[in-house]
Assembly symmetry: C2
């Protein structure tokens, strides 16, 4: 398959700019909320391939996006490593914190097929159900972001424990990063074997790191993953929220696409990364609350700043649960219309 999404990821010419939306299968869609209600709780939704498939397809049907993304949670492989996990309504994930070598000794690198087979089943189900020409993106959390969750025991405002560990015992945290890196490599390889045609690494929290720390801690793990996946022939996308300090280092990891948040223009990102990768992004998710004309103007700005080849339109961060569906629909139409290339 050589869809416009995959072509753009490979910096090849396309008929019009492809678009998908981070968290496109999510709460802003009424049909998602109805499937979610059927599942009961969130983890059950992730672990039931038929339902995960159902929600992954919803934005393709409703919005007409150019790619589907696996529906799952980035903590699924972490739970399989042996970290206790539960979701509490309105509070986000709660994990048993891993903060010592003794805690680390209780973890293992899971066999992705044997221990997270429901994810691979979901990948296969979504691939079977997708219309021709719409590729499926698999994904994983990146090691630093997963380490943050695992060490903090959930989301955090200041990342005190993971950064404290990094200052005090970088080699110890390095062992956790290594375990996570091996886990992510196997997990993503299995997704490709099951049918994923592109992959996105979410290093959402790496924006808390200094440029030096990103270079020393997060970038090497991402580079190992990129190297391990290179032979599979699927493009790898890297997303960090708050990446302005280290776009150059992200481009140096060997990923194929950098997903840029809304703070830095794509023109500046292209200049700083010297066109080494395709770029994804980067509309401010808050623009979806604006009236249609303003949304169109903001989308046009992003398109004007994007490189001539190698641009996948997306938001600079995930779509919010209360974003208006009609804005998401309008955005896809606008990008396809304004992104059309001269024949």
């Amino acid at each position: 398959m050589n869809s416009r999404f995959l072509k753009a990821c490979r910096q090849q010419p396309v008929d019009t700019t492809p678009i998908w939306i981070m968290r496109q299968a999510g709460r802003y869609l009424p049909e998602y909320r109805s499937t979610r209600a059927k599942a009961g709780d969130f983890l059950t939704l992730c672990k039931t391939p038929d339902l995960a498939c159902e929600v992954a397809l919803q934005p393709v049907e409703r919005l007409g996006v150019d790619a589907a993304i696996l529906f799952s949670d980035i903590l699924v492989p972490v739970e399989a490593m042996g970290v206790g996990l539960r979701f509490t309504e309105g509070e986000g994930p709660r994990l048993e914190p891993v903060r010592s070598q003794a805690d680390l000794a209780r973890l293992h690198v899971p066999d992705p097929v044997a221990e997270t087979g429901f994810v691979m089943d979901a990948v296969r189900a979504i691939r079977r159900a997708l219309p021709p020409g719409i590729p499926l993106i698999g994904f994983s959390g990146a090691p630093f972001t997963l380490a943050s969750y695992v060490v903090e025991g959930g989301t955090s405002r200041n990342f005190r424990h993971v950064l404290g560990w990094l200052y005090e015992d970088p080699a110890g945290l390095g062992r956790l990063m290594d375990l996570l890196t091996e886990t992510v490599i196997l997990y993503l390889k299995a997704q490709v074997e099951a049918g994923a045609q592109a992959l996105q690494l979410f290093d959402t929290w790496a924006g808390v790191l200094s440029r030096r720390q990103y270079r020393e801690v997060a970038a090497p793990a991402t580079a190992r993953i990129a190297a391990a996946l290179r032979g599979l022939g699927v493009p790898l996308i890297l997303y960090v929220n708050g990446s302005a300090p280290f776009l150059e280092e992200m481009a140096g990891t060997g990923v194929d696409v950098i997903s840029v948040d809304w703070r830095v223009s794509l023109g500046e990102a292209a200049q700083r990364t010297r066109g080494a990768t395709a770029l994804q992004g980067n509309l401010d998710p808050m623009a979806l609350y604006a009236p249609p004309k303003i949304l169109e103007r903001e989308a046009a700005r992003v398109l004007a700043e994007a490189p001539a080849v190698g641009h996948v339109f997306n938001l600079g961060h995930g779509i919010q649960p209360d974003a208006p569906v009609e804005s998401a629909v309008a955005l896809v139409e606008v990008v396809h219309r304004l992104g059309r290339k001269e024949p």
Copy 2:
């Protein structure tokens, strides 16, 4: 007075690097907690000059920092404008949201002496009580950050309402920004008249803006303030958390000192701002949880990256409520020892 803090703000040579710590008068200090208990609630502490003076002096005595900072809350002038404000334990400030021209019409630019006289009384009390050679920093929230609080009605994760207003009706939000800018100018002038010898503008939340938005919305307001205060002869410091996308624009506002968060090295910040201003910062606040040797190594790194003249040591963000006091004490000693200049 020509203390090492004021000299460094003016990019003049000093005997050793001056240091103060954002939120140095705060909950990590047991003596603060005891004064706070006397006051009862937080706003009463801010509005009682004797108690505000007491807590402002505590870090000078306990840590030996090179400057004191007024103890107050950035929402004090906003309340004086006519925005209802209350603090709820553990939840932060709650304000009556301002989201329309009708809401705006109910606000006024307060007379800082008549309506926030307790702040000026606190400035005078602190000046009287400070040891010779230790200057007093006055402060205010910067207009965009104050607008965020006022429009969102408190702290926010996504700043949906203020950014929504910006997209939909930039002229309307501009009127709020103008009111806030006039308020901040009068408020800071009054602090200088009462005795403040330097000023810091906290544009803490401006890091949510894109570079373009910072340039169009936040920077012009800061530039107006810098221009209005220039004749007073006190250095103006500008802090933004997450300033990597627009350090150049910050330097262009005409402030004297840019306070850099921990994500970008001072060496890189100096290069990007071409030495136009002094630099303040930028130790990661999380380094205070590390053992003494590692804290010293991290402080030495910051000093090594700092410009030869024009550096005020600080954290890259406020000190956390549970940071160890002994680390803060050690940091001041380390900076004074390692920051010593060749005679």
